[in-house]
């Protein structure tokens, strides 16, 4: 089945040169940025609010609403979040590499709407190639007068700086990213008072938005609010990009309409599980998201509301599929180890808790778990995220700590027997994970 393409249309139609300014110009390029110059801040904010666009960086917060919160002090800054470090996520990379001008047009629109004259794009350190592509696109756009002094012949000045990160997952968190841009360690700041919209980069009002969020903006202005909303499903407007990986026949990035079901995603778009094995579970929205399982979730529509009600989130759009040869303890250990490694260390529950969770999971996996370990996992988790509720309650500066709890609650709620089998049998029932051909 094929679905309408918006953000990935140019790269699909013109795979050879979708990243060039010539191709962008030939397919409507920068007309919306130019048009935005004739609109007021209020008009632009209202359009984006009405479009229902939700941020695509993970928190799914209304972009228009975020813009409306920008404090009045100036200069204000725009920071585009291209840190894309959530394991399993590789959509922003595609947008940066294959259609950088689409994203840059979104940057101009956002800058105008928020009276910003200097925008920064923070690219993940491990993405030197996308960063080079983007820098080339920036140079081209400067040469055309789309950036710099008096853009499009107006009296509006706008500069954009591409910044390469240093390799730290936590820098995706918006206040850590701001610290990192300032040349510091990427440690998250406490909110309040450091809400970026009030006290962000260099303590000035700052908008932080994701790369995919930016890429949506030219289309919203171009097709209009109603057409944009019609692409989606209820409150989830527009299309979304998902990075599908793990045990599926067709891993990759897909642009899809909200509201299709997980079954359609995994079995139609993803082509099902290799070797006709059974689907055991999947991560619906990046490593921070609690896992889904076929009995309860396969026919749920993919929307923010339905996913949230079922106790998880669409997060960064990363879907990792696991078949019946995957050991849940080992898989959880893998995700928890990631968080424990990436914890910035400021908050004790996160720094110590994730380390403990990793150690306990590791000994259970090695067949050295004690009967009390199952409760211990939940107890440590409860100290990081009180009550193990969804959405999580946080005892920490940022949501990274509570994210590490997601795999624990996932396995303890749905796969407790398998966890206990490790302990009672003194060995992992899946001694070796089979690698699908």
């Amino acid at each position: 089945m094929s679905y309408p393409k918006v953000l990935t249309k140019r790269m699909e139609d013109h795979p050879a040169d979708s990243h060039t300014i010539e191709r962008y110009a030939a397919t409507g390029g920068y007309a919306q940025a130019k048009a935005a110059l004739d609109m007021t801040r209020d008009e632009l904010v209202d359009i984006v609010k009405a479009s229902g666009l939700l941020g695509r960086g993970g928190a799914a917060f209304s972009t228009g609403l975020k813009w409306s919160f920008l404090a009045p002090a100036r200069p204000a800054y725009l920071v585009v979040n291209g840190d894309e470090s959530e394991p399993g996520t590789f959509k922003d990379r595609q947008l940066l590499e294959r259609d950088p001008h689409q994203m840059l047009e979104g940057v101009i629109i956002t800058a105008i709407a928020n009276e910003v004259h200097h925008a920064f794009v923070y690219i993940r350190g491990e993405y030197p190639k996308p960063a080079r592509r983007l820098q080339r696109a920036v140079d081209e756009a400067y040469a055309e007068g789309y950036f710099g002094k008096g853009i499009f012949g107006s009296d509006y000045d706008l500069d954009v700086t591409v910044h390469l990160g240093g390799g730290a997952y936590i820098c995706g968190e918006e206040t850590a990213l701001i610290n990192s841009l300032e040349g510091q360690r990427g440690e998250p700041r406490l909110k309040p008072p450091y809400f970026p919209a009030a006290k962000g980069l260099y303590m000035m009002p700052t908008i932080v938005n994701n790369v995919e969020t930016m890429a949506n903006l030219p289309h919203i202005l171009d097709m209009g609010v109603e057409a944009y909303k019609a692409l989606g499903h209820g409150d989830d407007t527009g299309t979304f990009l998902t990075s599908l990986s793990g045990h599926v026949n067709n891993p990759g990035n897909y642009e899809l309409p909200h509201g299709i079901t997980w079954r359609e995603l995994i079995y139609e778009v993803g082509g099902g599980i290799p070797g006709d094995r059974e689907l055991k579970m999947w991560i619906p929205g990046g490593a921070s998201a609690p896992w889904f399982n076929p009995e309860d979730h396969l026919d749920l529509p993919i929307t923010k509301g339905d996913t949230g009600q079922a106790g998880s989130m669409l997060g960064s759009g990363a879907v990792v599929v696991m078949n019946d040869t995957t050991c849940v303890v080992k898989a959880a250990e893998r995700v928890v180890r990631f968080f424990s490694h990436e914890s910035c260390g400021q908050c004790t529950p996160c720094r110590e808790g994730t380390t403990w969770l990793e150690m306990i999971l590791r000994r259970i996996e090695a067949g050295q778990g004690r009967p009390i370990d199952a409760d211990l996992l939940l107890d440590v988790s409860d100290n990081i995220s009180v009550g193990l509720a969804w959405p999580p309650r946080q005892t920490t500066i940022c949501p990274l700590g509570p994210s590490a709890v997601s795999p624990i609650t996932s396995i303890m709620r749905h796969f407790k027997d398998e966890v206990m089998a490790h302990i009672t049998e003194g060995a992992c029932p899946f001694a070796k994970t089979e690698v699908p051909a």
């Binding site: 730290a168 300032e182 360690r185």
Partner: protein, 173 residues
């Protein structure tokens, strides 16, 4: 005796190593702004291959930052290394998707075949084995980066063959 920043930057590094001039060029371009620390470390690492204490102190002095702060920032980020890398670098992604597709087997077989721990360089200095968090190419899982080239969908035996090939090419030079 105190030295001003401009004097410090103008001087040839006492070691006579002219690679410092490349770092200087970058420092001038960014006008010695302290918030350019991370970019400067990137440049220094590109030039030198890794960040020795000497290089870190040099950067600290040029940007007028305490060495402890420069060290603190550099060690926060995973892309900075503080030891000379081997002639060849093999990085195995051990992110969730690659794990599901057997990344552990790859790490283990390279480790055993070349007697090198993950995160270390073999004794003869020929091969550095690294593991990485998700590299954003999960569609290719399991992902291995050998000397900067990304390889996907390989099993342990195929990776071993590639590593061997890289090492042998070196010998032929």
């Amino acid at each position: 005796m105190t030295t001003t920043r401009d004097e410090a930057a103008g001087e040839l590094h006492p070691s006579g190593d002219d690679r410092f001039a490349l770092v200087d060029k970058h420092l001038k371009r960014v006008r010695y702004e302290q918030d350019q620390l991370i970019e400067t470390l990137h440049v220094a690492q590109d030039v030198f291959g890794y960040l020795s204490d000497d290089v870190l102190i040099y950067v600290a002095r040029a940007l007028m930052l305490p060495p402890s702060m420069v060290y603190g920032v550099a060690t926060f980020y995973q892309l900075f290394t503080f030891e000379a890398p081997g002639d060849h670098a093999c990085t195995v992604c051990t992110g969730t998707a690659c794990y599901v597709k057997g990344a552990d087997d790859i790490v283990q077989s390279v480790r055993e075949a070349h007697d090198v721990a993950a995160g270390a360089t073999s004794e003869d200095g020929r091969l550095t084995l690294k593991t990485a968090r998700c590299l954003g190419s999960c569609g290719l899982a399991p992902v291995v980066v050998l000397d900067g080239t990304v390889h996907g969908h390989l099993d342990a035996a195929e990776v071993l063959a590639l590593v061997q090939q890289a090492l042998e090419e070196e010998e032929a030079d």
